[in-house]
Symmetry: D2
Subunit: 352 residues, 4 copies
């Protein structure tokens, strides 16, 4: 219900601004007795952390997470788990000109329009830095669903899609783009370099697959698994589209092509549905896809206005990701984990 909380039963509340003293999350509703320490969370944050390749922002953050509550002797107690990550590399001066003029594509104008006040340092609350708190929270969610394995990767960058026939899961961790197609990764390297040199940026599409989800998670009508995933994914910074299974391509199939026939098992002969029927998981892999717009912070001057309504131009200096979609990969995984863990608990509540 509240603005910064997510989930029905596994409730995650995130807080913090890009250039405040810290960011964090409170994870409420976690089952008791799960082994949990900072070392269960840190690797996921490290995966998301900026500055790990030349294709991401050079902001340096250790992103060290601390657990401030909710565990005892290395196990969750069932009480809220407070996670905190201190902000370290806050070069607020880089953002000084953002204070007065609105960066097109950013939330600068809309935050001002809504609140009449805006923490302009690094985008404040609208910064993608907030997603570190989600990644930390999702590390806990993963402990709740050990039966599920989640894997996200880029399937398209700057309009250049992977070759599905060349899909190699082992490649995902072998290149800075989380790309399962080695040839595509090579092309993308060049594309991102060019975009950065040109002061431009690129969009991307992230795909996420959750294996091991049993049939029965999700609920009608407004707690559908796909509805929750759509909200979760669209809440990620720069997301502009969400698909489940074949998504928009399903709208181009005939009824008999799209039907996932069943055989004894039960098993399905295809998975156009992306593992969800009527808002409830079918036992097949859950598949979601998320479109990310190109980074709005670019070096090309863009016409804009200042707070007083005067026309001006803006160049967003600072340090930025030329393609935010790359760093969105662990965030998409995080949101998948949060939704699934929450729905598991919800299912258990109603159906035992």
């Amino acid at each position: 219900m509240s603005f910064n909380s997510f989930g029905h039963l596994l409730r995650v509340t995130t807080w913090g601004e890009s250039h405040g003293p810290a960011i964090g999350a409170v994870v409420d509703g976690c089952p008791p007795g799960l082994a949990l320490s900072e070392t269960d969370i840190q690797p996921w944050l490290d995966k998301r952390r900026p500055g790990t390749s030349r294709f991401t922002t050079q902001r340096r953050e250790a992103d060290q997470v601390r657990i401030l509550s909710g565990t005892f002797e290395g196990r969750t107690t069932g009480t809220p788990i407070s996670l905190m990550i201190e902000n370290e590399d806050q070069r607020s001066k880089d953002y000084s000109e953002v204070a007065s003029a609105y960066r097109p594509g950013h939330a600068d104008f809309t935050y001002d329009a809504k609140y009449g006040i805006r923490d302009w340092r690094g985008g404040g609350r609208s910064s993608a830095r907030e997603t570190a708190a989600r990644v930390a929270a999702a590390a806990i969610a993963r402990l709740i669903i050990p039966e599920v394995s989640i894997r996200a990767y880029l399937v398209e960058l700057g309009g250049d899609a992977i070759d599905r026939s060349a899909f190699d899961a082992d490649q995902i961790g072998a290149n800075p783009f989380h790309c399962p197609d080695a040839a595509a990764a090579a092309r993308w390297e060049q594309a991102v370099d060019e975009a950065r040199k040109a002061g431009s940026s690129l969009g991307a599409v992230v795909e996420c697959v959750a294996d091991g989800v049993p049939a029965g998670w999700g609920a009608p009508v407004y707690a559908k698994l796909d509805g929750d995933l759509a909200a979760a994914m669209m809440s990620i910074n720069a997301a502009k589209g969400v698909e489940i299974g074949d998504g928009f391509d399903a709208a181009r199939l005939g009824g008999e092509e799209n039907a996932d026939a069943m055989r004894a098992g039960p098993k399905f002969l295809s998975n156009h549905a992306g593992g969800i029927l009527g808002g409830i998981s079918s036992g097949q892999p859950v598949v979601a896809r998320v479109a990310f717009k190109p980074t709005s912070s670019i070096l090309t001057p863009v016409p804009t206005i200042d707070r007083d309504g005067n026309e001006t131009e803006i160049v967003t200096k600072g340090r930025h990701d030329p393609c935010v979609g790359i760093r969105a990969v662990p965030v998409v995984e995080a949101m998948m984990a949060l939704v699934l863990a929450d729905q598991k608990l919800l299912h258990r509540a109603q159906c035992g």
Copy 2:
């Protein structure tokens, strides 16, 4: 929070099955003093009602709505508004074979997997008939946002898209497809006829534009306007994808192409963002697009299993829409209205 309720402050709870005695909605949180009678709701239901052209199911439902509470002397009182629509044309016999075998693409299998019991008559709760309750509720939501006008239409059917340069708003009401391009409508007529004759079905893409939304509606991080819209749209039966603004196409643009430059006014020189930045409305038209899969009920036999796990085939007789996307148009509008009215109240709560 609950499974069948929607909205933060304007809370809509829908109930009812396809072949039960009635369906309905309880609308809670509506501002007092709004003029409301059945005649404000009925036209929207009539627009959604089946059997109005040969391109939709021939099920006949008067879909007469009754207001059972929440109004006094023709005005809303601020107390919950209970809406009921009685089911009339319930030919449960048509569905008898659905009782034992699972229709691929439907929720038959997943409901059984989740609940261990399933009202198989017409899909029960998973039937698109439930959307009538949403359309009725949204008629009330519209009263809360008189400053906003909402218009949805089909932009693609069976993979055949409209010609944007031929967009004519007046055409939308002039053909049974809610199609703004007369030439496309003519082609679609043929396509749907062919699909129906072949016992097949087609998918579609619905676009929805809300004009008049002021800047400032929506909230970080999990009550973003686009996050709420994504959940709302994905909760519609047969929806498989949601886009805001340029959506997946935004992922194919360069940063400078995608940036919506601003000039004094404030005004924007383009609307790639679909009227939402950082989860908050920008004052531009809010644009969403929803992909609907082809109707899963087809006359072509599809391999499936029965409740005991035995392999069989199924043909879904009954009366069905050859393209559910057509009848989804008023439902997409309804979800847009519900989200916007809710966010208007939420904004007023926090920002006065």
Copy 3:
């Protein structure tokens, strides 16, 4: 979150006004597979129904409940259960003078102050008639907690308390006051008769005991079992106080008197705590007590004002309960059942 919904997971939304066409409840989140028909609900409504003795209002309502959704072949399906009770004996004319003047002790003034509009017929939404919907919903809640037995009764009427040493559970159903002390019931009969003849009214205290609640239901900090019970009970019309266990008397005990010592079993040597420690059930009987003010509708003229602010006097004619506490007994039981069933599901969600 919403105004007219109750419960975390077992969500009950009630609707309806005293003199509208009907009242009802939507019960969402009910586990599937429970045997349920109208005959499971009707007896509880009959117990609450007015006009069963000369000590309650003579309004005649059959209070026939209909199940409109959520069951199939006599079992719950896990989808929302819609319950409707049509209003029959609506003598709106009795309330005509209430239309202009505010009845002291009633919600007339505050509804007008809040909403600027008010359904004055029989109190509209603020009428205790709404509690019939709760009683109906609670009949379903009881099916979720077969291990629990709930019993409420009056322990005080008009300031005259029962003799605890004369407590006889069998007496509760043997007199019109749900009084476990036969001697007190006899005194109360006289007291209520006198009050009615004098055009006055009396208050009462209802005690409710739930046996069979296992240890472990409830949760810190804001979903405490006692916190939920307090909200539930205080939401009943005319309730002005809620106690758990010894309640206010606990504030008068020394620490060693109040401590419920434990012995192997585990068992407790006393139950000052009323079965709840730290917001979580202890396995002892859960005990709550609710104070009801005297009926505000009295025949004695009371100074008041009309809608225009002019001073006047009002006599509330209509048909009224001389002691609303009597008819509150099944409502208190209902709220206990709703809270416990909800907390059972909540506990199962988090702790398996």
Copy 4:
């Protein structure tokens, strides 16, 4: 909905254990533009802080609050405000024997029964230390309702009530008991000293009055102002009873005595209702009363069992308040402020 969050729109999530590294609160939904710094919060924490007189626990905590997010240049931004208070004086060794045996009256047994694991250091999450987070959060709530002034005080201690005719508001801050009756304060001093020396403890009743609440806050049926207050107050550690207005005494009045007659203004000639009618504020002072049981930690040995079910005795050494009711005063005020601020926003949302 979640276990550790409170409020409809002004959502407060608290976290932290008595002897963990810190405790805190996240306040979401706060209106933007309010002047806020740590100095607005600290005085309220200082008022609640232990060790300020010999009548409260000698645990020493600076209780320094830090604002980690949600403000910019000294004003709230509308984003979540994260508050943190580090724990300093954590003598966990004092609690070592609590690790194995259950302290009667405490949540030790019930937490173990629920979660199967328990942070036994100082009561963990069930410690009254959690209320510091509420007091901090409520300091923000107070900024939202500048029109309201809230004042709580003890009206009874160890069964010894104040003399209402001797009520002197100036006395409240003049003695360590927040007692408005100087003579009673003198008696209580002796009583508490005796109880402490005897290794015993005492209960108390706190009264809280909110002046300046306009008519119209609160909502039917489950968001009633008194229902929210009941939940809020009962959620405080050691609370066992809640009354609104005359509370249980109202049950002993006749209908004409209890009716608060109205005169032009509007004004009321009395306030038996405690400022709430039908769950909505009437414009009169809102009055609540909360009963606190005697501190469960006492030096007198009490029979109990250990985790293995063996019978034993326990003496709770540590440092404890001989009467928790004394330190509950600022917490009661805090909960009043949180409820009222939340309901103000809720009212604004629906009624503009």
